[in-house]
């Protein structure tokens, strides 16, 4: 209804001109490859490289064959741990920083905001190397720092040990990206009308009470959105693992996530030859995991929150 020209019988040329370039590039380089990857995951290749339809064989192999399933379930589990560390550490810290920044009359809040967001702007690869150096036992910077507080015995080569490498990498990623939840939550807090909080303050409530009982319930939708962004972002964590640990995600695959598994399956490594069809299978499985997460968010969390805020 906004345009009388838009309802003419012949489809107006200018609409096509406006929409065509973006739609074409997007379709050709995003939607087509995604759809084609899903198609490829139902195919197999013989020795000559010719592909043939194989139904669900690749999927069955991936989740049950001993050569594949170990790596697959391991990477899925690691992805889940990676996500949990972000949910338990990154988002609470982001919430705390945002809550402090949004308090009335905090001097220098713009400077804090700018500086706290800085690591987020840098390349994951660079950050990976920076922390690799800092945690390196060769350099000993971390050990020295721990010694200041008398904890030098705690120092371990965290990135090199099977039991701690994944959590350490997750924390590096948390350190880098804590700015994102902080900013989004901060923005949501700024949008809360003052009269809502002032009423509580006049009744004698302190800032903590106001935050917990007035502001926090109001920003729950933002927290849900931050969570789903964290979930999807999780599947882009390839860069960090690859930079710090290489495609083999050592030690002993303890930092292998679905992104690195995808890369190895597709391009091959050591004795295993790369397989586009198996690679497509891993990608489609990642797609399914993301889909489940996004649908859960849309149909369970968001619905419930809407009812709650109304």
């Amino acid at each position: 209804m906004s345009s009388s020209r838009g309802i003419s019988k012949k489809f107006p040329l200018h609409i096509v001109v406006f929409l065509a370039p973006a739609t074409l590039v997007y379709t050709l380089f995003m939607i087509y490859p995604l759809a084609d990857s899903i198609r490829l995951s139902f195919y197999s290749a013989d020795e000559t490289g010719a592909t043939y339809f194989a139904g669900l064989t690749n999927y069955i192999v991936m989740v049950t064959d001993p050569d594949w399933s170990g790596a697959f379930w391991n990477s899925l589990k690691n992805n889940f741990i990676f996500f949990c560390v972000h949910m338990l550490v990154q988002n609470p810290i982001g919430l705390l920083l945002a809550a402090l920044l949004s308090l009335p009359r905090v001097r220098g809040r713009n400077t804090y905001r700018t500086l706290l967001f800085m690591p987020t702007m840098l390349s994951v690869v660079i950050i990976g190397f920076v922390w690799q150096l800092i945690l390196s036992p060769l350099w000993g910077v971390s050990e020295t720092l721990l010694a200041y507080v008398g904890l030098e015995d705690w120092f371990r080569p965290w990135l090199g040990e099977e039991g701690t490498a994944l959590v350490t990498l997750s924390l590096i990623s948390v350190w880098q990206f804590v700015g994102i939840p902080m900013m989004l939550i901060y923005a949501a807090l700024l949008n809360i009308p003052d009269d809502l909080t002032e009423a509580a303050v006049i009744d004698g409530a302190n800032h903590f009470w106001v935050f917990w009982y007035v502001k926090l319930p109001l920003i729950l939708p933002t927290i849900a959105m931050v969570s789903i962004l964290t979930f999807v972002g999780n599947f882009n964590a390839f860069d960090l693992i690859y930079a710090v640990k290489g495609a083999l995600a050592g030690p002993n695959f303890s930092t292998d996530i679905m992104g690195t598994l995808f890369y190895r399956t597709f391009f091959g490594f050591q004795l295993q030859i790369g397989s586009p069809t198996m690679g497509a299978t891993v990608a489609t499985l990642m797609f399914l995991v993301i889909l489940v997460g996004v649908l859960f968010y849309l149909f369970v969390i968001q619905r419930r929150l809407q009812r709650y805020t109304l």
């Binding site: 380089f29 490859p33 009335p104 390349s123 150096l133 999807v232």
Partner: protein
């Protein structure tokens, strides 16, 4: 209400914020100062600032000599800038069409274009690589530009669409009454009005492209087409034991981004805080 804030709690707030700021900046700072020190000083006094005795530029000299950092920079800038221009122009056009004209299937098209916000484009890499090989674009910057354009369009269109819906109707209707063509309305009236949103979207688009490792690694890994992120990754892999070179190459990758960030930070932060209003 601010009068109620006691000095103690104000101090506590600043202690926490300052503490976390130190945690956020210290690792970067440590890399920067050590890249200007001799190898001996790096290990003996890692926390110390470079002094006249320990100052050296040897790392930077080695990096410039052994790698083509200038070329990597040039590649990254080319890819980022060209993508940015293409995305902003085509994205703004599409967003305008979706927000302004009602036509059959416009809602579906908007939904279709939004799929890419939630689905990472990397999942299509197997077919993207095949497609790029078929198009004979492997190891070209064009391949990266096309893929990054597709990657950035969904969010760009989504944000600009929201923004354009707020443009007052009278402006467009007045122009239409004067018989100005739809193209002129877009380019001369709408595009200039969209500038603040375009700047925000621009920063959002730029950062992931500049920092990406995945697509340069699989689509353009050859020597002449490496971007800065891939170049640094390969360089460090090769000279991992040469601490001067490693620290210098990290510094060279960090500093330009930090300078650009400090210049644009106000714009960026305003964009994030405005974008989250919904």
């Amino acid at each position: 209400m601010a009068k109620r804030t006691s000095p103690i709690s104000t101090a506590a707030v600043h202690v926490i914020l300052l503490g976390y700021t130190v945690i956020a900046l210290w690792p970067i700072f440590l890399i920067l100062i050590n890249s200007f020190k001799t190898r001996k000083a790096i290990f003996r006094e890692p926390m110390g600032l470079p002094s006249p005795e320990t100052f050296t530029l040897i790392g930077f000299e080695k990096v410039l000599e052994k790698s083509s950092f200038d070329l990597y920079f040039f590649n990254s800038i080319t890819v980022t800038v060209v993508t940015l221009v293409v995305v902003l122009l085509t994205g703004a056009m599409a967003a305008w069409a979706l927000s302004e004209y009602r036509f059959k299937g416009s809602t579906w098209l908007a939904l279709y274009l939004a799929i890419g916000i939630m689905v990472p484009i990397r999942l299509g890499s197997v077919s993207i690589l095949q497609l790029i090989v078929d198009l004979n674009l492997i190891n070209t910057l064009t391949a990266l530009i096309l893929v990054y354009t597709a990657q950035s369009l969904p969010l760009t269109i989504f944000i600009l669409n929201e923004f354009m819906q707020q443009i007052p109707k009278d402006l467009k209707e007045a122009a239409r009454c004067d018989g100005i063509s739809e193209y002129m309305i877009f380019f001369q009236i709408i595009l200039p009005l969209t500038r603040p949103a375009i700047a925000t979207v621009g920063v959002f688009t730029m950062v992931p492209i500049w920092n990406d490792l995945w697509f340069p690694l699989i689509l353009a890994p050859s020597d002449g087409t490496q971007t800065i992120t891939l170049g640094v990754q390969q360089f460090i892999g090769q000279y991992v034991t040469d601490w001067n070179s490693v620290l210098a190459s990290l510094t060279m990758a960090i500093v330009p981004v930090l300078i650009l960030y400090l210049l644009l930070s106000r714009q960026l932060i305003r964009g994030i805080t405005a974008g989250a209003v919904k």
